[in-house]
């Protein structure tokens, strides 16, 4: 191995004296470095947008939800809430009742989701419903339930008039309008009694493992209960995000494959130019496996330089663009004001390993044919 390392170092060190091989090697190096750079920047951009989406998801959505496995009402909800508050003191527990009602304003009357939450005493309307009904803070909305109550005049729908306190952004993934009201208001509107349909939990410290913690805390004491974590609640969105990442990696990674083919041509060219040297090395006792190692080391050296340069520059560009907010976005259209970049070390490491793997493969193929050559052949044609 010492001889191969020594030779690879000397070949690369004195490469500049051989103009055309140096030029082709330089082109291989630059193209591989560009491939790595493009992949690091693209994945950082993607990660920047995706982490913004995930952050919004964590801020606005429940981290876990408890619902009855069958039926519409949670049995023994009070006991369930007490156990959760006792066992998970740092987790926010919110009781929920929800159903569809008719929301009416002076302008229109449209069906809307009414959600009663135990953690609010104010009435909030989301942007979608507020725009459709043409209402804002301080204005009133009449909510008419499909539940009826008996009056001396016969059965009439239950209705309440609510003053809007806040207009809020809709929950991620929700496209129809929704109204958030205090729990007792929703219970009166939808059920006429204090029932709970589901329980939402939030734990900002460890949101992705909350469902597992809840299952452990309940330990099978409440059968007929379904516990959904973030992964189940937002399955399609999270799947789409990871699919997007894989597809972008593969598509932009093709650049690396093209650059590796370039490197393969370069190493094959060095092998052809060094035909006699290789025969002499073989004559001096370098084994076929040693010759293979020599060429893999050459490819690996070019690949390592290209990867270090590409990954370094890609990281630098991504971090600079993120910190300087150089690429601005139109206000009000996106949830962020500039294009976000996020460099994850494991992502850079994966790109680097793929680039190095391709460089080794690209140099191993010509190395294999070099090793199969008869040493006398190289001397005979000189």
């Amino acid at each position: 191995m010492r001889a191969e390392l020594h030779l690879a170092r000397r070949y690369l060190g004195r490469l500049r004296r051989r103009t055309h091989v140096a030029t082709v090697s330089g082109i291989s190096l630059v193209s591989l470095a560009l491939g790595v750079l493009a992949l690091v920047i693209t994945l950082s951009l993607l990660e920047g947008f995706q982490s913004t989406i995930r952050r919004e998801l964590l801020q606005r959505s429940a981290h876990a939800r408890l619902a009855p496995a069958s039926g519409r009402v949670l049995p023994d909800a009070k006991a369930l809430v007490s156990v959760l508050r006792a066992k998970l003191p740092n987790v926010a527990v919110t009781e929920i009742v929800s159903g569809t009602c008719l929301a009416r304003s002076f302008a229109d009357a449209i069906p809307a989701l009414v959600e009663g939450r135990s953690n609010t005493h104010r009435v909030a309307i989301d942007h979608i419903l507020a725009a459709r009904l043409g209402v804002g803070p301080g204005e009133q909305v009449e909510v008419i339930s499909s539940r009826r109550r008996l009056t001396p005049l016969g059965p009439v729908p239950v209705r309440v008039r609510l003053e809007i306190a806040d207009v809020v952004a809709p929950e991620p993934g929700r496209e129809s309008g929704a109204l958030t009201v205090p729990l007792d208001v929703a219970q009166r509107l939808l059920w006429g009694k204090p029932v709970v349909q589901s329980i939402e939990l939030r734990d900002p410290a460890d949101p992705w493992h909350l469902a597992r913690q809840v299952r452990q805390a309940l330990a099978g004491r409440f059968p007929g209960l379904r516990v959904d974590g973030l992964q189940q609640l937002h399955r399609s969105l999270l799947l789409a995000l990871s699919m997007e990442r894989i597809m972008i990696f593969v598509a932009v990674g093709l650049m690396l494959v093209v650059a590796s083919l370039n490197l393969l041509c370069n190493v094959a060219m060095i092998a052809a130019e060094k035909r006699t040297d290789l025969a002499v090395l073989s004559g001096l006792g370098l084994t076929p496996s040693g010759l293979r190692r020599l060429f893999v080391l050459l490819g690996l050296a070019i690949g390592t330089i290209a990867t270090v340069v590409g990954a370094g520059m890609g990281t630098l560009v991504a971090v600079t663009l993120d910190r300087t907010h150089a690429l601005t976005l139109p206000r009000g259209v996106f949830i962020v004001s500039s294009v976000p970049f996020r460099v994850r070390p494991e992502m850079v490491a994966t790109v680097s390993l793929v680039a190095l793997g391709l460089a080794i493969l690209a140099s191993w193929l010509p190395a294999r044919s070099v090793a199969r050559r008869d040493p006398a052949e190289g001397l005979r044609y000189e």
Binding site: R2, A3, H6, L7, R10, Y11, G13, R14, T276, D277, A279, V280, L281, S282, G283, L284, G285, L286, T287, P288, S289, G290, D374, P375, A376, L379, R380, E382
Partner: protein
């Protein structure tokens, strides 16, 4: 000659190049025995297969048929890896053209077989400097091939051939590219090292006078004709 005294034994060797009508039979039914410590010159007209013979003995090429024994070991069936290792330890080569590596200086070129054998850089360089001193090029150790003259290049090649202290030295027209003065100097050097190191040496040459100064001259005849000692 007893088996113990024999360094090279080539028996009934044949070698041809090309296929079909373009096939050229270079060697046929060739026998050659070289005693340990002997200095043998191989002579013959151009194209008769002198280099091919040397390549076969030096394990750079395989005969199409026949047996080759080196230092009592049948090497005909060895695989590529084993042949390479044997070349490193058993055989020293000097070619007509020096074939030094342009990227390495004289010291590193001489040290190359030692590095291939796994010696450390320090030990290999030390031995290389010792050999360069013996061939009179101590002051040229850090010169690259393009900074050396033709005679100096061949002397470096001789030093490289002896780096691993091989018992067998093969030289393929080592003076073919040199002027008279340098040829004489190089041949004297090879003969001196042959005697001092106790080598077995086979030298391919066109120079009848040089062949006459060897222990024995072996005339290689075209395939189908009888080859033998002069």
């Amino acid at each position: 000659m007893s088996e113990r005294d024999r360094m090279v034994w080539l028996h009934d060797a044949a070698k041809a190049y090309g296929e079909g009508p373009r096939r050229v039979q270079v060697l046929q039914g060739l026998d050659l025995e070289v005693r340990k410590g002997e200095l043998v010159a191989v002579v013959g007209p151009s194209g008769v297969g002198k280099s091919t013979l040397l390549h076969i003995i030096g394990l750079l090429d395989r005969p199409d048929s026949g047996t080759l024994e080196l230092d009592g070991t049948d090497v005909s069936c060895l695989d590529l890896e084993a042949r390479a290792k044997l070349r490193n330890t058993l055989i020293g080569f000097v070619f007509q053209y020096h074939y030094l590596l342009d990227e390495l200086d004289a010291r590193d070129n001489v040290a190359l077989p030692l590095r291939i054998a796994g010696r450390t850089g320090h030990a290999a360089r030390g031995r290389a400097e010792e050999l360069l001193t013996r061939v009179g090029l101590a002051d040229r150790a850090s010169h690259f091939p393009d900074q050396l003259s033709g005679g100096e290049l061949q002397r470096v090649a001789v030093a490289r051939a002896l780096a691993m202290e091989p018992p067998l030295l093969l030289a393929d027209e080592p003076t073919g590219n040199l002027d008279r003065e340098n040829s004489e100097m190089l041949f004297s050097l090879v003969r001196e090292l042959h005697l001092m190191e106790g080598l077995t040496s086979i030298i391919v040459t066109h120079d009848e006078e040089m062949a006459g100064r060897c222990d024995r001259a072996f005339r290689l005849a075209p395939a189908g004709e009888r080859s033998g000692d002069v």
